[in-house]
């Protein structure tokens, strides 16, 4: 009897050990699944993009100056790449100084009460759906720009850049503020002890010490701006023309993201347009992957 009991308990013990083993392996699989998902997304994009290379070389695709997918099947992506670049650079020029200054104000200058009001405002900005921001751009900003700057249409690269600047600000502000916050208190105390004012401490000690974190925030903000789709689709006018000079910021452009959004719905699964759009997707993936990688390295630098 006693023996049987012992065997019984041994069985459940062994059973629970086996169960534990299975559960642990299952959890590890789920943990590693994220790596698999990222790899799978990239491989799948490339795989579906491959047929485009039957008729075009990579160089032709990237440097081609004409995008006429229907009916000519001409897939020059340069206007789209430059369109994305123009809108993103515009957004960064407008957004980065404002965002970094706000991060300094919110993190180091504002009183705790003011900070408790400002932080939720930044969170709300991050939570507004991109299609709502696009709608606002279309309904309010585009007509305003058209009137004040006397343009043919308010739906231009500048409108997109302004909207994107606001959409990338929460990312830049949050990460920069974290980076400033992570600077050891000793640095501040040492600066004050040397007779520095608060402002001198901020600009001479805290910002330089947090620079790799701030840089990471800016990189992630750029990533956000490059990848944003609905807002640019709605407010940039969507003309796939080459931006040729700085004046082009006042003309309609079309970005990489907006091209996929506007055209994927009407493509023939077996035509050349379908793989061409997957190629655009693969290019976008590589761009954002690189940006995120650099930002991640910068953040690790900051932690050290």
């Amino acid at each position: 009897m006693r023996m049987r009991e012992r065997i019984g308990t041994m069985n459940t013990k062994q059973l629970s050990r086996a169960g534990e083993f299975i559960i642990e392996k299952g959890i590890i699989c789920c943990g590693v699944a994220t790596i698999a998902i990222v790899l799978f997304i990239f491989i799948f994009l490339l795989n579906d993009a491959l047929p485009i290379f039957k008729t075009n070389t990579l160089w032709q695709l990237i440097s081609g100056r004409d995008w006429y997918p229907v009916p000519d099947e001409v897939f020059g992506m340069l206007p789209l790449i430059l369109g994305s670049a123009l809108v993103t650079v515009g957004a960064i020029v407008i957004g980065v100084p404002i965002a970094v200054a706000s991060a300094i104000f919110i993190g180091e200058v504002a009183t705790p009460r003011v900070r408790e009001l400002l932080k939720p405002a930044v969170e709300v900005l991050a939570a507004i759906p991109s299609v709502v921001i696009g709608f606002i751009g279309l309904a309010l900003l585009a007509p305003l720009l058209q009137k004040t700057m006397n343009l043919n249409t308010g739906q231009c690269a500048l409108t997109g850049a302004i909207m994107l600047a606001f959409m990338s600000m929460p990312t830049i502000i949050t990460i920069s503020e974290d980076a400033l916050h992570a600077v050891p208190q000793d640095y501040k105390a040492a600066a004050y002890a040397l007779g520095a004012t608060r402002w001198q401490t901020i600009i001479g000690v805290l910002v330089p010490a947090a620079r790799s974190g701030i840089l990471a925030g800016i990189m992630l903000g750029i990533g956000r701006a490059v990848g944003e789709t609905m807002t640019v689709l709605m407010v940039t006018g969507n003309a796939a023309v080459m931006p040729t000079n700085i004046q082009s910021i006042l003309a309609p452009v079309r970005t990489l993201t907006a091209t996929i959004a506007a055209e994927m719905g009407e493509t023939d699964r077996y035509g050349a347009h379908y793989p061409a759009l997957f190629m655009v997707g693969a290019i976008l993936f590589v761009i954002t992957f690189t940006i995120n990688l650099v930002a991640d390295l910068a953040l690790r630098q900051n932690r050290k």
Partner: protein
């Protein structure tokens, strides 16, 4: 010398304050305009009747219901995988190259443009798996998109559970999984909940991933199963503000306000819950 230093500081702080206003004032203005223009459109009739007349009349009942179905399925798909990944990172992972890669993958998943998710979802779920455009395909796409949100929030929730809780359980003879399942997880539920709400709010506002995977321009009936297409709120707003000529502005503003209330409302709700839970925490 002393005076000029203080003057510099006063000027610098004033500039910083003004620049911060440039961020905050537009947010307040945008919400003010959405509420003041959209308020008139919001009525019981608008919220509970289907769109009609080429989307120029009627309400937004079917897009609201479609959005609810879609985000419901999304969270059901994303939560288990996200939670298990978070448990792996918080409880099982040892520092090393694999863990480092997993973290890098999560950062990158969060950075992939939403339209690329849409492209991927269309290619894999709609075409390769032959689901066509349907709620299941759309919610699987959205689930991938919110996975990083769920993982990061859940891991944070698990990792703040005090280490002594785990040691006490282990000392009583509990196995690793028993400790995780019976002790760590229950204490992390509030954080996981707020993270999930954040994920839902993100999924409810996204348009690009659902363009080709689920969204229907118009449907005369509500979706009947997860293999049906659905009208969805963000896509509906996109259509009536860009593709439908002469759509009455009050319908546009009303739809935009509704979407804002759903997405931002859930976000704020999640923040309030987080603060509440933190105050009431036992440790």
């Amino acid at each position: 010398m002393m005076k000029s230093r203080n003057l510099t500081q006063t000027i610098a702080f004033a500039v910083l304050r003004a620049v911060t206003g440039v961020v905050v004032i537009p947010v307040v203005l945008v919400i003010y305009f959405l509420v003041s223009h959209g308020w008139h459109a919001l009525s019981w009739h608008f919220l509970t009747s289907a769109p009609s007349g080429d989307l120029k009349n009627g309400g937004i009942f079917s897009p609201i219901v479609g959005t609810l179905y879609l985000v419901g399925c999304t969270i059901i798909l994303a939560l288990p995988l996200g939670l298990l990944s978070a448990i792996y990172l918080s409880e099982y992972a040892k520092p090393g190259p694999i863990t480092r890669l997993v973290r890098l993958a999560i950062v990158n998943l969060a950075g992939v443009p939403s339209i690329v998710y849409g492209l991927f979802g269309y290619g894999v779920f709609c075409i390769l798996l032959q689901l066509k455009e349907c709620i299941l395909a759309g919610s699987m796409t959205l689930a991938l998109l919110i996975l990083p949100v769920i993982i990061v929030a859940s891991e944070e929730a698990l990792s703040v559970v005090p280490h002594s809780f785990r040691e006490a359980a282990m000392a009583l003879g509990a196995t690793k999984w028993q400790t995780t399942y019976r002790i760590v997880l229950p204490n992390a539920v509030p954080g996981i909940l707020t993270g999930s709400i954040l994920g839902i709010s993100r999924a409810a506002g996204e348009t690009a991933p659902i363009l080709f995977t689920v969204a229907a321009l118009y449907m005369p009936h509500l979706p009947r199963s997860i293999f049906d297409k659905a009208m969805v709120l963000p896509y509906h707003l996109f259509q009536i503000s860009t593709q439908v000529p002469d759509c009455p502005p009050e319908i546009q503003w009303g739809t935009a306000l509704t979407l804002l209330v759903i997405a931002v409302g859930m976000n704020v709700f999640s923040s309030i819950l987080r603060v509440r839970f933190r105050k009431n925490r036992a440790w």
